[in-house]
Amino acid sequence: MTELVDEQLLKDLAILAQLPFEPEQVSSTLSAINEVLELVARLEDAETASVLPLAHPLERQQILREDAVTENIDRNQLSQNAPSFEDGLYFVPKVIE
């Protein structure tokens, strides 16, 4: 089985997905992922040269909505699940740009 994803790639993917890179789990994670990718590799057999990708199963067109303000927002109600909400703001550790 060719390993498509190696440790370095896993590190990169973890950063993109903002998941922790857990060194003790590396080998089990890698084998789990590569196993799936091997299953996926069967796609290579398919003849798809002139086939258009299908993004939406039923190929319909978007119905557009009117430009109207329909929301009556109570920010206190909507922030009830927030771990850190004060003075109308959601707080995170300071971000340096």
């Binding site: 498509l4 994803v5 790639l9 896993l10 993917l13 973890a14 993109l16 997905a17 903002q18 998941l19 922790p20 857990e22 994670t29 789990a32 992922i33 196993e35 799936v36 990718l37 091997e38 299953l39 996926v40 590799a41 069967r42 796609l43 290579e44 057999d45 398919a46 798809t48 086939v51 258009l52 990708p53 299908l54 993004a55 939406h56 199963p57 039923l58 319909r60 978007q62 119905i63 909505r65 109600q77 909507l78 922030s79 009830q80 699940n81 927030a82 771990p83 850190s84 959601y90 995170v92 550790p93 300071k94 971000v95």
Partner: protein, 485 residues
């Protein structure tokens, strides 16, 4: 007082005739839940107070003669459907304390039709699984054999209905998550055409594949539920602007002349011999009912699981990015910086299967791999859809087994994830093509239920339900119940 496995139509009659009150009926199920849920673990939350409040209101309506079709009927809802101010977990630690400020459209429509929600059912975490074993809240058990899985991801819903802990339930199906647990537990489970039921308020796993649907004892019940769950919702941009037929009124049209395609690829290696036998027996019933069986091919079926395990993880990798510990959901203690906040909150909040799929999805979309993986999978998706379009030129329904085996044992496939994924080998292609599909009980193997799957053409839920109902008039598999007291 009442039978725990009563159908919705039976309960409607009982409630209307006042041989039982809504409050009594609700209390009956709540008592059963208290008694049996510790063993089955099919409910994550039960809200006695809210349910009884709804029941009392239902009784008033029944007394006044202003009852809606589902008034007083106690159901459960998969914990993926947001219900305003009620804890909605999606089977995850990430949302253990989440109370949404909105209710899912499909859930709301059912409650408006009078249904009483007893509680929220257990499920694979974020709907990712085929056995209900990835739930943060522990596995649900199959009422037919407590050492076996009920199927997934709507395992809790299936177990609850099969064990008589509610009269019906709602599930979601992305690769088979309504149909496979329905098959495992001896129920009727329907995934409608993509877009038939609104996805507003339904926590997203894979947006282009997810659909809600009913899980019931009978096709007739499924028709009744579907009537109230379906409909155009402007809040869901992928929702279909199509009228909702009166599914429950058209079930008795005879099946004579119906052309049923028997898909060769659904009878492949991997299908357990005894299951195949059950299905072939069941097909004879369709012939006796007047249908014609025609052999058909859906040649790209063997690629469906591969395509699915690119598309679903890719979409979910993006859908789950919103879980960052900032506006809702689990947050780690004392984050040192933003990166720490994200990584630890997500690392702690998500289980291993979810994290794995996010990584696979991130990989499939990343630069350098997008064309070979994601784009390729979308191309194969079109080939799979084209197979169906061609088949439906000659047949009205396509039939086969729902799952390759009956319910397997808890823990049996945990070390063999690909084997687990292949559970969905017959169900996945209907999701990729967006077609309606239904599983109905059609036999038993070693005392365990076997499900038969029917796939219909776009918006042909009526044909599916009719065929299911007619089958259930001629057989009694759907009337079998587990012995669980």
């Amino acid at each position: 007082m009442t039978h725990p496995f009563s159908t919705l139509t039976q309960l409607q009659t009982q409630l209307r005739e006042r041989s039982i009150s809504a409050t009594e009926l609700t209390q009956f199920y709540l008592d059963r839940i208290a008694q049996l849920n510790p063993m089955l673990n099919c409910y994550i939350t039960v809200d006695n107070e809210r349910a009884l409040d709804q029941a009392r209101a239902a009784d008033q309506q029944l007394a006044q003669g202003s009852a809606a079709p589902l008034t007083g009927i106690p159901i459960s809802q998969k914990d993926i459907f947001c219900i305003e101010d009620q804890i909605t977990t999606a089977g995850s630690k990430m949302l253990a304390n989440f109370r949404p400020p909105y209710t899912a459209t499909s859930a709301s429509q059912l409650e408006q039709a009078g249904a009483i929600t007893l509680g929220k059912t257990n499920m694979d975490e974020f709907a990712m699984g085929s056995s209900n074993e990835t739930s943060y809240y522990g596995p649900a058990k199959n009422p037919w054999d407590l050492l076996r899985i009920p199927g997934g991801s709507s395992g809790g819903s299936a177990a609850a209905v099969a064990a008589g802990l509610c009269a019906a339930s709602t599930g979601t199906d992305t690769g088979g998550s309504i149909r496979q647990p329905a098959a495992m537990c001896g129920l009727t489970g329907l995934k409608p055409t993509y877009g038939r039921i609104s996805r507003w308020g339904m926590i997203a796993f894979a947006s282009s594949l997810d659909q809600a649907g009913p899980m019931t004892h009978t096709a007739e019940d499924a028709a009744l539920m579907l009537e109230h769950m379906a409909g155009y919702d402007p809040k869901d941009a992928t929702s279909l602007d199509e009228p909702v037929p009166e599914y429950s009124q058209n079930l008795n049209q005879p099946m004579a002349g119906l052309r049923i395609g028997v898909c060769r690829q659904f009878f492949s290696e991997g299908l357990e011999g005894a299951v195949e036998q059950s299905i072939r027996e069941a097909l004879k019933t369709f012939e006796h009912l007047g249908a014609t069986l025609i052999d058909i091919d859906l040649p790209h079926t063997p690629l469906s699981v591969s395509a699915y395990y690119v598309i679903a993880p890719a979409e979910c990798s993006a859908n789950l990015s919103r879980f960052d510990g900032i506006r809702f959901g689990h947050r780690c203690d004392d984050p040192t910086d933003l990166q720490d906040l994200y990584q630890r909150s997500r690392g702690e909040g998500f289980g291993n299967e979810v994290k794995k799929r996010i990584l696979v999805g991130t990989f499939a979309l990343s630069a350098g791999y997008y064309d070979a993986f994601y784009r390729k999978a979308q191309q194969v998706r079109r080939l799979i859809k084209n197979d169906f379009v061609e088949a439906f030129d000659h047949v009205d329904l396509i039939v086969g087994p729902t799952a390759p085996t009956p319910a397997f044992q808890l823990g049996e496939k945990l070390d063999n994830p690909v084997d687990m994924y292949l559970q969905d080998i017959f169900t996945i292609s209907a999701n990729l093509a967006g077609l309606p599909a239904m599983s109905i009980p059609a036999g038993q193997v070693r005392g365990l239920p076997v499900g038969l799957q029917l796939i219909g053409n776009y918006l042909q839920e009526g044909t599916l339900l009719r065929a299911g109902h007619q089958f259930q008039q001629a057989t009694d598999w759907h009337q079998l119940a587990p012995e669980i007291e």
